[in-house]
Amino acid sequence: MTTFLCNIKQMRKISLYIFTFCLILCAFAANGQNLTDMRLNEIVVKNTNGYLDDYGNRSAWVELFNTSYGTVDVAGCFLTDDPDNLKKYKIPKGDVLTKIKPRQHLLFYADNEPDKGTFHLNFAIDSTTTYIALVNADGKQILDELTFQAHKVPENLSYGRKVDGIGFTKPAGFFSRSWLISKYEKEANGDPGWTVLSKVTPQSANVIDNKESKLIRLKERDPHGGIMAVTAMSVVFSALIILYFLFRLVAARNIKMEEAKKQASAAAEAPVEAKQNVNVTVNADPQEYTDEEIAAAIVMAIHLESENEQVHDVESNILTFKQIYSPWGNKALIMKQTPSINR
C-alpha cells in the first residue's frame, strides 16, 4: 500500500512537471492576432513630388502595417507626435477602411487637416518632429513608437523599416521580441530595423519577398533534394524518437503502478475468493468502491449466473456485467447531470 501511495505521489509530481513545461512552452509561443501586431512602418516627412492624397494634395504621411495573419481594426486607436499627449488623434470608428487585412498597410496623411476625413491627422509631420506613436484605444498602451530626427530624412524619400514589421518596437505583448531588449540598448545603438529607404512604397511592402525566388533559391542550393530529405527525415525521426522515450518512461511508471495496484486488490479480495471458491477478478478501483459494494456486486453476479439469465459475457471463470440499456442513464434523454451520491 505504501508503494502504491508513493507511486501516486510520484505520478502527480511528474504530471506537475509536464504541466509546468507545457505552460512555459505555451507562454513563449503565445502570439495573439490583435492590435499589438500593428506597427509603424514607413514615414515621409517632405513630400513635394511623391504620393498624392485623395484630394490631390501632397503631404507627409505615416504608414501602419498589420504584421499578423488576421484582419485588425485600428478604429478607436490613437496616433500622436507628442509623448506627453498620447490621445492626440483618435482614429474614428465606423469607417470600414480602418480594418487592415492580414499583412497589409494603411496610410495616414499628417497634414493637420482632420476635417478632410478619417485618414487625415490633426498634426503635421515636419523637420521638427522627433516622435511618432500608435497608441491603443485605452490611450495608455503604446503599441509602437518611433523616436527619430525628421530633418535627417531627405526630401521625397521615406524613413521606414528595412523589412515590413521587423525591428525594435515598444513592447506591447507580454512576450514580444523587443521585451528582451533594454531601452538603454535601443537608445544607445539606434534602431537597426529602420533606415532611409531607397524607394518610397506607400500602401505596399518596403521589400518585396518574392515567393518564387525563394523556391528557385531552394532548387539551386539543393538541386537533388538530398538536404531537404535528410533534414526532414531528421525532424520526423526526432519527433517520434522523443515521443518514444517519453512513452517508455510513462509505460515503465505505469507498469509499476499496476503491479502495486494488483497486489493491493489481491490482498483485499483474498477472503472472498476463498469463501466462494470461484476465481473472481474485480476490475474496479478499490479506492472507488466500498467493500460492501464489491461484495454485493459479486453476490449478485453469482446469483444471476446460477439463475442462468444470460447476463454475463461468455468467459470462463470471469464474471462480468453486461451493460443493459436504461433510459435513466441516457444522456440524450435527461440532458442534465446525473445526481451522484456523496459518500
Binding site: 509536464i18 507545457c22 512552452l25 509561443a29 523556391l215 531552394l218 532548387k219 538541386p223 537533388h224 533534394g225 538530398g226 531537404m228 530529405a229 533534414t231 526532414a232 527525415m233 525532424v235 520526423v236 525521426f237 526526432s238 519527433a239 517520434l240 524518437i241 522523443i242 515521443l243 518514444y244 517519453l246 512513452f247 517508455r248 510513462v250 509505460a251 505505469n254 507498469i255 499496476e258 444522456k331 440524450a332
Partner: protein, 354 residues
C-alpha cells in the same frame, strides 16, 4: 475521363477496392466531366456554384483536418503505446515521401510541386489533399486521385516487396504479446503527442491538432457522444464531400496532361520506397534487439498510413507462412505511427516550400 470515373465505380463495386473513396471520387469524375455551357454557375470552377462552394473545403483545405478528427476519434493507439518503438517504423516509412520528392525534382518539377507529389508516399489521402491545396493547387486533382488509387492498391503493391525483402525465417518471427495499456496512458497520449509534435512542426498544426483532439474525445471517456459523431456521421459526411469534389475537380482539360502521368508514376514509386524503407528499417532495427523482442519485418510495410489496409496486408502475408501468427495488432502500431509521421512530414514540407 468519364470512362475513368466509371472504371473507379466498377472497381469499387465489383472488386471492393476502397469503395468508400472510389465510389464518390468516380462519380465526381463523371459529374465534373459532363460538358456544360460556361456561365451557368454549375461547374466546380465557377464561382458561386454549389459545387464550387463544396469544393472550397478542398481548395481551402478544411476537409482534411475534419477527416483527421474522425480518424483520431476512431483510432486506438494502444498497440503503439504498448510498444513505443514501433513509432520508429512509422518514421522510416516516410522515406517514400522524400524519395519521391527527390525524383520529382530530377524530373523537372518545381520544389513546391515535388513536395506535393512526394506526399502521395505517405499513403494518406487527406494529407495529400491538404498539402497539394497549399503547395500546388493545379496538381491537386491528379495528386488526390493518385493517392487514393494507390491506397486502394496497397494489397497489390506491397506484398511482392515484402516478400522480396525478407527471408522465410524472418517472416516466421513471433512477436511478444503486447501488454495491456491503461486508460490513463491512453488519455495522456493525445495530449503529450500533440504538444510534442506540434511544437516541433507547428506547420502541421491543423492535421496533428485534429488527429490528437479526436483521439482525446475517444479516450477521455467523458465525451462519448462527440467521439461517436466525429468518428461516425461527421467523417462520413466529409468523406462524401471530399470524394465528390475531388472527383469533380479532375476535368479532362486540367487532368489529361503529361504531368498527370508523371504524378501517377511518382506516386507508385513513392509507395514502393515507403514499403521498402519500412521493411528494411525493421531488419536493421532487429540487429540491435534481443531475440525475444525481435520485430517481424512483415509489419514494416505498415509504416505508411493507409489505415488499416497496410496492417491487414502485414497480417495476411504473415498468415501465408504461419497460420497461427497473427500480426494485425502488432502492425497497427506502425500503421497509426505512420499517420502521425505523414502529418509531421506534411508540416515540414509546408514549412519549407510554402
Amino acid at each position: 475521363m468519364i470512362l475513368i470515373g466509371l472504371l473507379f465505380i466498377y472497381l469499387a463495386v465489383t472488386k471492393d477496392w476502397e469503395p468508400m473513396l472510389l465510389v464518390p471520387i468516380g462519380f465526381g469524375i463523371v459529374i465534373g466531366n459532363i460538358p456544360l455551357f460556361p456561365g451557368l454557375q454549375v461547374g466546380v470552377y465557377e464561382e458561386g456554384s454549389v459545387l464550387n462552394i463544396l469544393y472550397q473545403g478542398v481548395r481551402q483545405g478544411f476537409y482534411p483536418p475534419l477527416i483527421f478528427l474522425g480518424i483520431g476519434a476512431m483510432t486506438d493507439f494502444s498497440a503503439l503505446i504498448s510498444n513505443p518503438k514501433l513509432l520508429l517504423i512509422g518514421a522510416a516509412a516516410q522515406f517514400g515521401i522524400f524519395g519521391a520528392y527527390a525524383i520529382a525534382l530530377a524530373m523537372g518539377f518545381a520544389p513546391n510541386e515535388a513536395g506535393a507529389i512526394g506526399i502521395i508516399g505517405g499513403a494518406d489521402g487527406p494529407t495529400a489533399i491538404f498539402l497539394s491545396s497549399r503547395l500546388a493547387p493545379d496538381l491537386m486533382g491528379a495528386i488526390a486521385v493518385s493517392a487514393y488509387s494507390y491506397m486502394a492498391l496497397v494489397p497489390v503493391i506491397q506484398p511482392p516487396i515484402m516478400r522480396l525483402m525478407t527471408t522465410k525465417k524472418e517472416r516466421l518471427i513471433r512477436m511478444k504479446k503486447p501488454r495491456q495499456v491503461s486508460q490513463t496512458e491512453k488519455k495522456i497520449f493525445p495530449i503529450v503527442g500533440f504538444l510534442l509534435t506540434a511544437f516541433i512542426v507547428p506547420s502541421g498544426l491543423p492535421l496533428l491538432g485534429m488527429l490528437f483532439f479526436g483521439n482525446l474525445l475517444k479516450e477521455s471517456g467523458v465525451t462519448r457522444r462527440l467521439a461517436n459523431t466525429a468518428s461516425g456521421p461527421l467523417i462520413d459526411i466529409v468523406t462524401i464531400l471530399i470524394g465528390i469534389t475531388v472527383g469533380c475537380s479532375t476535368q479532362a482539360d486540367k487532368f489529361l496532361q503529361l504531368k498527370s502521368i508523371g504524378i501517377f508514376a511518382l506516386g507508385a514509386f513513392s509507395f514502393v520506397i515507403a514499403t521498402f524503407a519500412g521493411v528494411l528499417f525493421v531488419k536493421i532495427f532487429n540487429l540491435f534487439l534481443k531475440d525475444e523482442n525481435k520485430i517481424n519485418p512483415l509489419i514494416g510495410n505498415a509504416g505508411v498510413s493507409a489505415v488499416p489496409d497496410s496492417a491487414r496486408v502485414s497480417n495476411n502475408v504473415g498468415l501465408e507462412y504461419d497460420k497461427t501468427n497473427y500480426l494485425l495488432m502488432h502492425a497497427m502500431g506502425p500503421n497509426v505511427a505512420g499517420v502521425i509521421g505523414s502529418a509531421v512530414a506534411a508540416g515540414i514540407l509546408l514549412g519549407f516550400l510554402s
